[in-house]
């Protein structure tokens, strides 16, 4: 290829937030007409970088060049005008708008202020046909499926004449068939000369679709590589910066005694069965892993177990007692621990001091409560104990939870669930979005819990983690447990093909 200036070049981008450096001297060059992947762990600074490129955030220092000349974006409007479009991870759509309204918003065709619906409709039809992205402009957005909504986002960007497309974790919400469709559409777009920046942490996908890959770690650019030069494992090591820690458990501690028994559990969401006929047991000292692409029923399963959702069928039996009808509090008081997947959204009272966060979920129990009263002294003592025991880096129990880093927040949550001495611990995505050090610590804690004879349920998007930690693995697909696998023999590739439905097996 001739010496053309990169379509986009980021030089020395630095951005700090209170207490964190999100981007530190990031350098990135994207060639015109390529699919350029930016990979990194959650929290590595990918999203911040893309928000800077899209004008949503302004960098503290550094420059952005487009086709060799410097640009300054004060708002997304400037970025859009320069031909940059962004498809956000969480769709930026008004569900109560029609597709047309969502697409034209901000750059509407109009006569004297009145919208020109005819022109808009024609343009959307033309774009969706020429790019192979089928779309009906007059449907209400809330009636669309996830994949269709993503198409709205893509057409929205094309409508604005974007030459550079940023896709932020576009596959996170898609089922495998939709991913295949999306990749087809991306290749089509590339063929038409569109430059694509593809943010992801899913390495197999990146290796499949990208022309070049830039790895980001802890806010720094590590390296830019070509997919044919690296293996997934090498890429992963670039991402985490060291030999991958392996989440392996040692000898089996599984006993014969069943602690948690799930029988024919089903959960309906609207007219759809989000979870159907789930049946499995967890024994003393056993970790049961649930593998699945996000959105296949893991969430509903976990919520039905902890009592946040009423199951429509089936029963949950804890140590011989049927707890199906119990409210969450009773379940927790009787030894059900829970590490929620959305740490800040469901696990913490961010503005409150740590001791109040340590109580959360155990506020009815010793040492946090005495009769109807809360025991502040006991809670503080317990929090101090927890801080030293679980290595939570913080000045003390009166600091607000907001002031903790993600990893420390997670250590606090894991610690508070463990110190409550549960019988069963449900860990939903326990290492999502935390740094490698904290990840290893969380793994260690899970192993300890298992050694102590707890029954654990683990859901995760990290297949290595699932294989390494679990004693028994189930694959969940479209709300059903479709396979039971032995983690000692299964490979991540195999597991992946079960998760996507490419390979099928019975639940042994």
């Amino acid at each position: 290829m001739a010496e053309r200036a990169p379509a986009v070049e980021l030089k020395g981008i630095t951005k700090t937030f209170p207490g964190v450096v999100a981007n530190d001297d990031i350098n990135l060059a994207v060639q015109p007409g390529e699919i350029h992947a930016v990979v990194g762990e959650n929290g590595a600074g990918k999203s911040t970088l893309m928000k800077i490129l899209y004008g949503m955030l302004r960098p503290d220092s550094g420059t952005i060049l487009m086709d060799g000349s410097g640009v300054h974006f004060r708002s997304p409007k400037d970025a859009i005008a320069a031909g940059i479009g962004m498809v956000h991870q969480h769709f930026m759509l008004a569900t109560n708008f029609t597709v047309l309204e969502n697409v034209v918003l901000g750059s509407e065709p109009a006569h004297a202020g009145a919208l020109d619906f005819g022109a808009a409709r024609a343009r959307i039809r033309e774009l969706s046909e020429s790019h192979g992205v089928p779309l009906d402009p007059d449907r209400l957005t809330e009636d669309l499926a996830v994949g269709e909504r993503q198409r709205v986002e893509i057409v929205k960007v094309l409508y604005r004449g974007a030459r550079i497309l940023i896709l932020d974790e576009p596959t996170a919400v898609l089922v495998p068939q939709e991913v295949v469709e999306l990749f087809g559409q991306l290749r089509e777009l590339r063929a038409q000369g569109v430059t694509i920046i593809f943010i992801s942490h899913k390495l197999d996908e990146v290796l499949e679709i990208a022309d070049s890959i830039t790895v980001i770690r802890d806010g720094h650019t590590v390296r830019t590589v070509k997919p044919e030069e690296v293996t997934a494992r090498q890429l992963a090591e670039l991402m985490v910066g060291s030999e991958l820690p392996t989440p392996e458990t040692r000898e089996s501690t599984v006993t014969e005694e069943v602690l948690l028994s799930v029988q024919g559990l089903g959960v309906r969401v609207g007219a759809r069965w989000a979870l159907e006929d789930a049946t499995f047991d967890i024994h003393h000292g056993e970790i049961v892993g649930i593998a699945g692409v996000e959105g296949n029923g893991q969430r509903e399963l976990v919520e039905a177990l902890i009592g946040l959702r009423k199951p429509d069928t089936g029963s949950v039996i804890l140590a011989g007692t049927d707890i199906t009808q119990w409210p969450t509090r009773q379940r927790r008081e009787n030894g059900l621990g829970y590490i929620p997947e959305d740490r800040q959204g469901r696990g913490l009272l961010l503005p409150s001091p740590l001791w109040e966060n340590t109580m959360l979920g155990h506020q009815t129990l010793y040492p946090f409560a005495r009769g109807p009263w809360i025991n502040k002294k006991g809670a503080r003592a317990q929090t101090e104990h927890l801080i030293s025991e679980y290595g939570v880096m913080t000045p003390g129990p009166d600091t607000s939870a907001l002031a903790l880093s993600g990893g420390n927040q997670q250590k606090l949550i894991v610690g508070r669930e463990m110190t409550a001495a549960p019988k069963v611990l449900i860990a939903a995505q326990p290492t999502r979005g935390i740094d490698v050090g904290a990840q290893a610590a969380v793994w260690e804690l899970i192993r300890e819990a298992r050694a102590l004879g707890l029954a654990l349920l683990l859901t995760s998007a990290d297949l290595e983690e699932l294989i390494g930690l679990s004693d028994t693995l189930y694959v969940i697909l479209r709300g059903r447990l479709v396979a039971r696998l032995d983690p000692a023999t299964v490979t991540p590739e195999e597991l992946g093909s079960y998760m996507t439905g490419a390979k099928q097996a019975g639940v042994a």
Partner: protein
């Protein structure tokens, strides 16, 4: 390095800025009508510090304080009980009517009247609570509607069923007089003005609310639900039960707002009972930052300003200027609160991050050594 308590001192900026702004704006208003702010404030101060004014201030503050507590309990879990006004009016009506209908030994009579008020207030609030829990109707809309319904229903009940039989040509629309056993004498008298005894019950109520919210499991659940309803639910709080309980409690407290006036002054439900206290209670709760002590201070300030302003008319200045003063206080408090809250949070995060970094360095050094 800034200490956490130093950051928290920033909170003082909220009341200070509110009072400064209020004085500035009121002065401008006064200047605009060619009155001297200095004279006005001086005569307010002189009149307001007389003994009888202080007594009156306390009497005025008591209902405001109770209304503030009723509102604050809801606010603490992000529940907006805009219906305190309606709950107060209907509860006072029922309590007055019930109190006049029976004769009991004094302490029981008082307790009975309070109980009727609390039950009625809670019952009226429960409509909004049920609509929210069962039908997802937001409490702001339902309580606004219920305020107006309470007005209409109260007027209907009063004029058709609960009204004292007219004597001669008397046109007063009121419930019958509550007998002596259901009245409370003054606690003390300052400068010829009674201080009503109900202030003691109000103080007890304030202590009760403080203990309930900050010292009990229920209060912990309530605050957790206000800060992060999802996390609270995951921790085992049943949001529907919480809404029901909080709303009932708020309504029950609202049912006590009129008691000071009822026991100590009117001894009957009349159309002269103060109106709008429910809304003033919202203002007092906001200005008092939803804490009983803050609410008490705010209620006293509002009560004092109300009383002290009575002198202004004699000075040829419309005393209504103080309503503008109060409005300015409310707005500056809510705006200053928003700003300070953001600053304090980001400062705390920064400080904690610095301290954490030091901790980590110290740890690395010990490992190295």
């Amino acid at each position: 390095m800034r200490k956490r308590w130093q950051i928290r001192l920033l909170w003082l900026l909220v009341p200070i800025s509110a009072i400064v702004l209020a004085i500035v704006v009121s002065s401008l208003v006064l200047l605009s009508i060619d009155a001297s702010p200095v004279d006005a404030f001086r005569s307010m101060y002189e009149y307001g510090t007389q003994g009888n004014s202080l007594a009156s201030t306390v009497n005025r503050a008591v209902p405001l304080f109770i209304a503030g507590l009723a509102v604050a309990i809801g606010f603490k879990m992000n529940l907006f009980n805009i219906g305190v006004e309606g709950q107060y009016r209907i509860a006072t009506l029922m309590a007055a009517a019930a109190g006049a209908a029976v004769t009991l030994p004094a302490p029981f009579h008082i307790a009975f009247i309070m109980l009727v008020g609390m039950v009625t207030g809670a019952a009226w609030a429960s409509i909004a609570a049920v609509l929210k829990v069962k039908r997802g109707v937001h409490e702001v809309v339902s309580t606004i509607m219920l305020n107006s319904i309470a007005t209409g229903l109260g007027a209907y009940l009063l004029s058709n069923y609960l009204r004292k039989p007219a004597v001669g040509s008397e046109l007063l629309i009121a419930t019958p007089q509550i007998p002596h056993s259901g009245q409370l004498g003054p606690l003390t008298t300052i400068g010829g003005e009674d201080v009503r005894s109900f202030v003691l019950i109000a103080i007890l109520l304030g202590v009760f609310v403080y203990v309930l919210i900050w010292r009990t499991r229920f209060g912990y659940d309530l605050r957790a639900s206000g800060i992060n309803p999802d996390a609270a639910r995951v921790s085992g709080v049943d949001p529907n039960k919480m809404i029901m309980r909080t709303m009932l409690l708020s309504g029950a407290i609202a049912g006590l707002i009129g008691m000071s006036d009822l026991f100590g002054f009117f001894h009957a439900y009349t159309l002269d009972l103060p109106t709008g206290i429910g809304f003033d209670g919202i203002a007092v709760a906001l200005v008092g930052l939803n804490h009983p002590i803050g609410i008490a201070i705010a209620a006293l300030v509002f009560g004092w300003v109300d009383r002290a302003a009575q002198i202004l008319d004699l000075e040829g200045i419309p005393k209504e200027v103080i309503i503008i003063t109060k409005g300015v206080i409310i707005f500056s408090v809510v705006i200053a609160y928003e700003i300070v809250r953001r600053v304090v949070l980001s400062q705390e995060v920064k400080t904690a991050a610095e301290e954490t970094r030091k901790l980590e360095q110290a740890e690395e050094e010990t490992v190295a050594a």
